[in-house]
């Protein structure tokens, strides 16, 4: 078994520029930790980076399930909601529970729900599975609205996020919450990265590519599929905690609707399936691009049309661009990125 692993990682190493495959993410993380807090304003953190981090993490989670293990899911927002409400309730009801523990527990709750709704995947595939994960989407939202215990019997069902406090240190303000979210995202992304290059990750890919072949070479299909659902839901659940606690600072079931599930699915499709980087690139596009369009539209045409007309036309432009993009680059932003990098490298070498 270990022979295969070393073998594969050796080919991987020779494919990428060996050291740079670690160097690039390290530089990005260092930049995010050191430079960004120094130069960024509150708009950058509150409106761009925090939703970007939460959605990226959700994208990483869904990518494990859909990109690597090949199980289509439309229930991502439900797992985010499960995570957010679980963390809220652990934090509220268990006296003195540290925040880290309630985040981990919330991930476990989301994972458990993921396993339950992953069970149909043993029989169903493709569209049929996607439709059955819709059940998770509707059930979780319904349960959270129906039973007011989840929102601590708050009159309107909308609840406030607790303070982010770890070991006496309070992550207050936009920068604090950003660093908190960044840390969680970095840790989980690192673990996800390790996972997909491990034996389990290869089992995921084997099942995605040919389930019968995978079964024949001795991969436990049932266990592996449920594991994919569990790990993916865990990560998405924690992404829900970041969304609710660090970004919006409020939790309401309506915020985790089907649209959010689609949004996360689009992130991984546009970013690139079966790629950790893809989730980040996709999230960046989905978060930043509409904002840039809307600000540009307001700036150029804000005096001529009202905001409704502008918003409608932005949707049309955005939709058209996404279609165009997927035609030109069906493998997602990751493929585009790699191609650009190769060309730049070539240009640099030839000069």
């Amino acid at each position: 078994m270990s022979a295969i692993t070393t073998d594969l990682s050796a080919t991987e190493l020779s494919k990428g520029a060996n050291l740079s495959s670690w160097l690039a993410p390290l530089i990005v993380v260092a930049f995010a930790y050191i430079v960004v807090p120094l130069i960024g304003g509150s708009y950058l953190f509150e409106a761009i980076l925090l939703p970007f981090l939460a959605l990226s993490l959700a994208g990483v989670g869904l990518n494990i399930l859909t990109g690597y293990a090949g199980q289509v899911s439309l229930g991502s927002a439900a797992f985010m909601a499960a995570g957010a409400f679980a963390a809220y309730n652990f934090n509220l009801r268990v006296e003195g529970l540290p925040l880290v523990a309630s985040i981990v527990l919330s991930g476990i709750v989301a994972a458990a729900i993921g396993i339950v709704f992953g069970l149909p995947s043993l029989r169903l595939r493709g569209f049929y599975l996607a439709v059955s994960t819709l059940a998770a989407q509707f059930f979780v939202q319904w349960a959270l609205t129906k039973f007011s215990w989840f929102s601590n019997d708050s009159a309107s069902g909308v609840i406030d996020a607790p303070k982010l406090c770890i070991a006496g240190f309070e992550f207050d303000g936009a920068v604090g919450r950003y660093l908190f979210a960044l840390t969680v995202v970095v840790i989980l992304t690192f673990l996800a990265y390790r996972l997909v290059s491990s034996q389990t990750g290869r089992n995921f890919i084997a099942i995605r590519d040919n389930e019968i072949a995978a079964r024949i070479i001795g991969i436990p299909v049932l266990r592996t599929k449920l594991l994919a659902f569990a790990i993916s839901s865990f990560i998405i659940g924690v992404a829900g905690v970041i969304w609710a606690f660090a970004y919006l600072r409020t939790v309401e079931p309506a915020g985790f609707d089907l649209d959010r599930s689609f949004q996360i699915l689009f992130i991984i499709i546009i970013g690139g399936l079966a790629s950790i980087r893809g989730a980040f690139l996709g999230a960046a596009l989905i978060v930043v691009f509409p904002l840039a369009l809307s600000r540009l539209g307001n700036f150029l045409l804000g005096d001529v049309f009202d905001s409704g007309v502008l918003d409608m036309s932005q949707r049309i432009v955005l939709g058209a661009l996404i279609i165009l993009f997927l035609i030109l680059e069906p493998d997602g932003l990751v493929a585009l990125w790699d191609r650009v990098r190769r060309r730049l490298l070539l240009a640099w070498q030839s000069s």
């Binding site: 009159a155 309107s156 919006l248 409020t250 309401e252 915020g255 600000r295 918003d311 993009f325």
Partner: protein, 446 residues
């Protein structure tokens, strides 16, 4: 590759736009950040409300040259009623100098903003909605559920039914069904109906309609079996016309259905057609365009081609008039604050002080050209709702007709419940209760 260049070009121009988009603040301007929604499922409410609000701000600018010479400015940011878009708009618009108050007209967005506006010291107005306990100004210094919070609305409806039956003691033994929208908004009043039922001796049965509410056959069959004396419709959007149509189908008399404040617009009854004839609903502001202030808007603003509503037949509709009333409340708060702090651009905290002294008695309301449009308001540092009165309108198939006097909700009964809830919130968040002296200390810089 060409696609990549396009993306780059767009990104670059966007970055340019961002860097030059915000003009320097003018010394004599007061700015309203409008987190409006003109597309999406609730566009009918959004266009009407923000249309009325902008029309009134325009009226003040055109007719009076602003508030004591301070020009009112605003810009719109589309939220589609979605929380994260509202937050983005907040972050985008807050860098603009001279912000007076936020008016998102969305419970979800308002919740997400409470921490933020409290830190920034700018008032947040949730006219006719919002969280009930934000009425308590000791705990929520910057949040104002002006005119009517959900509990007052409930009390107003029960008082109206009592008046129709011939007195509060006649409620004993009566049966009321509340048909509510299956959402946080719809559920907010469940405990208060139970409490009022106990207090006045009527029985209440509360039935949920799952969102969005376009199928209500089973709920109305239950209602037919229960034979209630009144049905309170606590709906939203498509649920309202469907409820009225289904009521006719099962044979429940429509004039015994009372709508709440988000089931009271033209958009709720027109789609129901004849089924809505005789339906009554609560409102804080009467509809119609006969009021002097609405007439002035028609003449001055729409006459100058600056009207905000595309469909002029909506002038004077329920949502449009709510926007106008909201405009009056915001502008008068600024005016009151200006008398204390000077005729200049005010800070958010100074405007907050203005809202906390927003007292418009019926005479003042008449002077503003809004007699009978709304009754009065009396906000104080610890009562951020301001004791708004309600009235009831009946739909005759073409327009709403006022069928009641101005009715006062039972504030004395509600206040202890609100205080208890607010104090629990304060304890949970570690907020120190504000005193009258704290309320008078005003930050002069934002």
């Amino acid at each position: 590759m060409s696609f990549f260049t396009t993306v780059k070009a767009v990104a670059l121009s966007a970055a340019l736009a961002v860097s030059v988009a915000l003009p320097a603040a003018h010394a004599d301007e007061q700015y309203f950040p409008l987190q409006s929604y003109r597309v999406g499922p609730y566009a009918a409410g959004g266009t009407g409300f923000f249309g009325g609000f902008i029309d009134y701000l325009n009226l003040i600018n055109i007719r009076d040259g602003g508030v004591n010479g301070v020009k009112l400015t605003w810009d719109e940011c589309e939220t589609q009623y979605e929380v994260e878009r509202g937050v983005e708009c907040y972050e985008r618009q807050k860098s603009h100098a001279g912000a007076a108050a936020w008016n998102p007209l969305s419970v979800g967005i308002a919740y997400a903003m409470i921490d933020r506006i409290t830190a920034d010291k700018v008032p947040l107005i949730t006219v006719n909605h919002g969280r009930t306990d934000s009425t308590d100004g000791r705990v929520f210094p910057y949040v104002f559920p002006l005119l009517l919070n959900p509990y007052s609305e409930t009390s107003g409806i029960v008082n109206y039914i009592a008046a129709k039956e011939g007195g509060i003691d006649k409620l004993k033994g009566k049966k009321i069904v509340v048909l509510y929208h299956g959402s946080p908004y719809g559920k907010e009043t469940i405990p208060i109906y139970e409490l009022l039922a106990q207090k006045y001796g009527f029985t209440v049965q509360q039935i949920e309609v799952p969102h969005p509410g376009n199928e209500q056959q089973s709920q109305w069959l239950t209602i037919r079996r229960a034979k209630p004396d009144f049905v309170v419709l606590r709906g939203w959007g498509v649920m309202n016309p469907v409820a009225l149509k289904t009521a006719v189908k099962v044979g429940y008399p429509v004039d015994h259905i009372v709508g709440n404040v988000w089931s009271n617009s033209e958009e709720d009854v027109i789609p129901a057609g004849d089924a809505a004839k005789g339906y009554t609903a609560i409102t804080t502001q009467a509809s119609g365009n006969s009021y002097p202030v609405v007439q002035e808007i028609v003449k001055t603003v729409y006459g100058a081609g600056k009207g905000n509503l595309e469909d002029k037949s909506r002038i004077g509709s329920v949502y449009h008039n709510l926007g106008i009333v909201n405009g009056i409340l915001n502008v008068e708060a600024i005016r009151i604050a200006q008398e204390k702090f000077g005729h200049r651009t005010l800070t958010g905290d100074e405007v907050r002080w203005g809202f906390e002294h927003l007292k418009l008695d019926p005479a003042k309301v008449e002077a503003l050209g809004a007699k009978d449009l709304f009754h009065s308001i009396n906000v104080s540092w610890d009562n951020h709702e301001g004791e708004g009165y309600v009235t009831f309108q009946q739909w005759d198939g073409k327009k709403w007709n006022v069928v009641s006097d101005w009715i006062a909700p039972d504030w004395a009964l509600l206040r202890p419940i609100i205080e208890k809830s607010a104090e629990a919130y304060a304890a949970e968040k570690g907020i120190k209760l504000r005193t009258a002296a704290d309320a008078d200390a005003v930050a002069v810089t934002n």
